[in-house]
Subunit: 117 residues, 2 copies
DNA sequence: TTTACATATTCCGATATGGGTATATAATGG
DNA sequence: CCATTATATACCCATATCGGAATATGTAAA
């Protein structure tokens, strides 16, 4: 078995830096493919291929407008990533460190109240 | 060129579901390899290999204890993922939708104040 | 030191990748 | 209908993958 397909889920789709770039550009609003080609300096076929992957995991939606295809972000597909990673935020966030201090103080105070001290 | 190496960055490392599982288990505290093997029902070599990838992107740290190696999460490596994805939260979060409504109302009120209406 | 246990590494094979180039499809304009 | 523009797909290739099995390394116990 090889690595999971990039289309398997959002985690895989977004592991590719170019695809994150594409999403970042699209975050600024709906864009036709050629816009992305120019903005990102990539070849048109690669952009289309990346967009396909993003479409397959639901991270972008398309809309036909004449001979152009307008792509836009659909952030819902990214929610699982956010949900997963946010639980690790406490590891690096100072806010959580401070919260730990407060909780520790509370615990000590409580212990002091209840017992002989 | 093939897909970027899994060790290229945290995004790639974490695209593999088994590695997320490993991190999820380690989130409960320091564990030796065999613990993970038993808990996750994976073969020992694959666990060691996944741990190597996680080590290379800095998502876990190791500590030697006798003949065991104790692994623990180092969430700092996941911060870039959180930082990237959190900007898309507004796309799905109702809180942001409500904020949009409020902002829209404010904008209308202001327009009403300033002009002839 | 010989054995046993814990973990890491190596080698294999099947597979999907992502870039490049050429080409197909689709819609518009003349 | 033909040319042009916009996008998608097909094909090729070099590469890294992940799992499985066997083996190497390292530490502790007998």
């Amino acid at each position: 078995m090889a690595r999971a397909a990039t289309t398997a889920d959002a985690f895989n789709a977004v592991a590719e830096p170019r695809r994150r770039q594409i999403l970042d550009v699209l975050a600024g609003g709906e864009r036709p493919v050629n816009d992305l080609v120019r903005t990102l300096g990539l070849a048109q076929p690669q952009v289309s291929k990346h967009l396909r992957v993003l479409r397959e995991v639901g991270a972008v939606d398309v809309r036909d407008e004449g001979r152009q295809r307008l792509y836009r972000v659909n952030g819902h597909a990214l929610k699982p990533i956010h949900d997963w990673v946010k639980d690790y935020e406490r590891t690096w966030s100072e806010r959580f460190d401070e919260l730990d201090v407060v909780l520790e103080e509370l615990k000590e105070k409580e212990a002091g109240d209840g017992s002989s001290e």
